[in-house]
């Protein structure tokens, strides 16, 4: 699978056809996701599949629709500079990996220092079976708050650059695809399933792979599908751009708000223990709320990005 990955990466680098390159990126992500599954990192695989192979492809296609499908030729001299940088970096990386612990070595430092406590005590300390969620949302919950802010920042960036029609309707250049019967019926059939699946991923993150990030992306993809097939007019009627954008901010505020509440109750920022009658109960509540905040921000940010791409066409 690694060799397939390399082949795909090389193909992406060689291609001038950006449309095909984007498609290959999708394959690349899917391959990496499969690789993560093989390595038993299902949560990471899930994220890679949802984000890398799913939403980012849609967004890249959106960007292509605004620019061009072909790459402009780059002067030869620049190739050499790029090649030197890449070779030096690559050589450095290979040199660096010569001394790393072997894959799956039980004595590797990464398995011996902080990991044992996560694996053995998270059940008593936090009380949820998915250790990844425990680490992500509680032990290192502050990093996750940071990541949520990163996504929010990215959305604000695109909104600021491309602008979203704050009022009135967004009309796509070509019109929706609502005339295609098969597409319409399949989409209608898929939509509720996608939404329910997103909710399942959102609230089942404590037990199985999943959580706010993946759920948000899946939730957003339902709206994007609706927008693509039934036209921007319909989707903005369901989810007006202003509301969606505000939701992106509100999600961050929910997450940080949990921290502020725990602070006001006399404990440290994001210390969920104090939220409930007993520590694990508080942890459950805290994780539920912050994952909800993540889901809201991610979904709203992704939908905002889609709106931004779609509305920019009209302004031109």
């Amino acid at each position: 699978m690694l060799s397939l990955l390399t082949v795909t990466a090389l193909a992406v680098a060689r291609l001038d056809q950006l449309f095909a390159a984007v498609m290959l990126f999708g394959i690349y992500s899917l391959l990496s996701a499969a690789l993560f599954v093989v390595m038993d990192a299902v949560d990471v695989a899930f994220t890679e599949a949802a984000v890398g192979a799913g939403i980012s492809i849609i967004l890249m296609l959106g960007a292509l629709a605004l620019t061009s499908r072909e790459q402009r030729p780059v002067p030869r001299s620049r190739h050499w500079i790029a090649l030197v940088v890449v070779v030096v970096t690559g050589a450095g990386l290979i040199y660096g990996t010569l001394d790393i612990p072997l894959y799956a070595d039980p004595n590797a430092p990464a398995h011996l220092h902080v990991a044992p406590r996560y694996l053995q005590q998270s059940m008593q300390e936090i009380g949820i079976p998915n250790v990844v969620t425990s680490v992500l949302a509680s032990y290192r919950g502050y990093d996750t708050l940071g990541e949520t802010v990163v996504i929010f920042t990215a959305a604000v960036g695109v909104i600021g650059r491309l602008g979203v029609a704050t009022e009135g309707r967004i009309e796509p250049k070509t019109g929706g695809l609502e005339h295609y019967l098969i597409l319409r019926i399949t989409a209608k059939f898929m939509l509720p399933l996608i939404l329910v699946f997103a909710l399942y991923v959102q609230f089942h993150g404590d037990f199985g792979p999943g959580g706010g990030f993946q759920a948000g992306v899946i939730f957003a993809s339902a709206f994007i599908l609706y927008g693509l097939v039934f036209g921007m007019e319909n989707v903005t009627a369901v989810a007006p751009p202003v509301v969606v954008r505000s939701l992106a901010a509100i999600g961050v505020l929910i997450y940080a708000g949990v921290g502020v509440v725990s602070l006001l109750m006399g404990s440290n920022f994001l210390d969920y223990n104090i939220l409930g009658h007993e520590p694990t109960h508080g942890q459950h509540l805290g994780i539920f709320l912050v994952e909800f905040g993540v889901g809201v921000t991610v979904a709203a940010s992704m939908i905002s990005l889609f709106y931004a791409y779609a509305s920019y066409q009209r302004e031109k």
């Binding site: 990991a115 990163v150 920042t153 604000v156 960036g157 600021g160 505000s246 006399g266 994001l270």
Partner: protein, 493 residues
Amino acid sequence: MIRTQLPALQVVIPLLAGPTCLLLHHSRLSWGLATSASWVALFISLALLDQVLATGPISYELGGWAAPWGIEYRIDEINAFVLLIISGISAITISFARTSIEHEVHSKHVYLVYTGWMLCLTGLLGIAITGDVFNVFVFLEISSLSSYLLISLSRDQRALTAAFRYLVMGTIGATFILIGIALLYMMTGTLNMSDLAARIPSVSDTRTVKIAFAFLTAGIGLKAAVFPMHFWLPNAYAYAPSAISALFAGTATKVAIYLLLRFFFTIYGVEFSFETMKLDRILLPMALAGIFVASTVAIFQTDIKRMLGYSSIAQIGYIVLGVSLVSVTGVTAAILHLFNHALMKAALFVALGCVFFRVGSVTRDDLAGIGYTMPWTMGAFVLGGLSLVGIPLTVGFISKWYLIVAALEQQMWWLAGLVLISSLLALVYVWRVIEIAYFGTPGDRSTEIKEAPATLLIPTWILIIANIYFGIDTSLTVGVAERAAQALLGNAS
């Protein structure tokens, strides 16, 4: 209770203010909120510095989880000082920003500027305060993404290419940093800084740890615009809105330099960085080349903001030079210059913001005779410029003094001489502006140009007065810088 929660509040207040600015969706209200949040952050950082100086380093466990399992905030002399620099510059420049931003940014985007500003402040403060390397990366992403946005919001279309170039370079830098962190985690199993410092010596002879060091140095060097990795900086500063240039010049590269100090001294330790890796032998020539090349290029710039951008690269050279001497005095000079350069560059960019507000351009020719039509603004620029050159009674002099003393301590007479000669280059590029402003023939429009409004002049002069005050009374700055340098170097010896 509030006192023990200050470390969290330092970052969380701007973090909450950012999304709220977006929700407010109103230029003036967003500005009001962002400005109050910025000033509150300044008071918190003052309180934290006071606490650190009185009782030693502060540790704060986020989520109530003890390090290294959870994320720790750890504040000692150096990052308390850096926090003060960031929040201080942000508070003053954002007070300046209202009038300036309304003039330089499309009215429908103004509230986004303050959203971005708060996010950027969150990111920068978050990098400076944390004791966890992955947390550094997360907040680095926040500050980087928001700075690309802030630059690109300028009305000047060239800002777009500048922001894009910054984005590409910044992303490469961030990826390098992430690779470095990942390699370190692989070898030590920890992300906590003091924990890393304790565990690295046992694996310090592996190639992985060494290559991680190289990736981190290159990545952070890119972010700090250390010569020759500076190409993104001049245009980014030149085409960004004036208040934003002032903010970045005073904070963004400073935080990156702080990170370098952290990795070199605290995490890897002096022995590894400077004896095993011989880093000083690379840093010294890079710093000198940066000082001379960038100062010379600055002389030939016609856009004054670009000129200041090149001057920043040269000033970063001085900071790196101080670090490369690996002595308490040298590092003191570097830390002092972090503070002092932030003050003078912010003052100069803000003064140019006043010029831009009235003249609509900051190219050399348009500044002809402006010393008489805008006396207060240009007066501020001249004083700031003198500080940049390093005239006595300004902060610039203090930095250079310590740098020269540090060079002489190691019998490097030639180095002290080079620092003095490079100051003459600075004198040349500052003089070229003064010359055109006071002795140039005014253009046709000069009669219409009036002095900048008080809302712009007051923050400008606060910065100028700070430049002179800290140039005379150095007890705070030198005292803190010296203690910070001793703490950094003391870890190893």
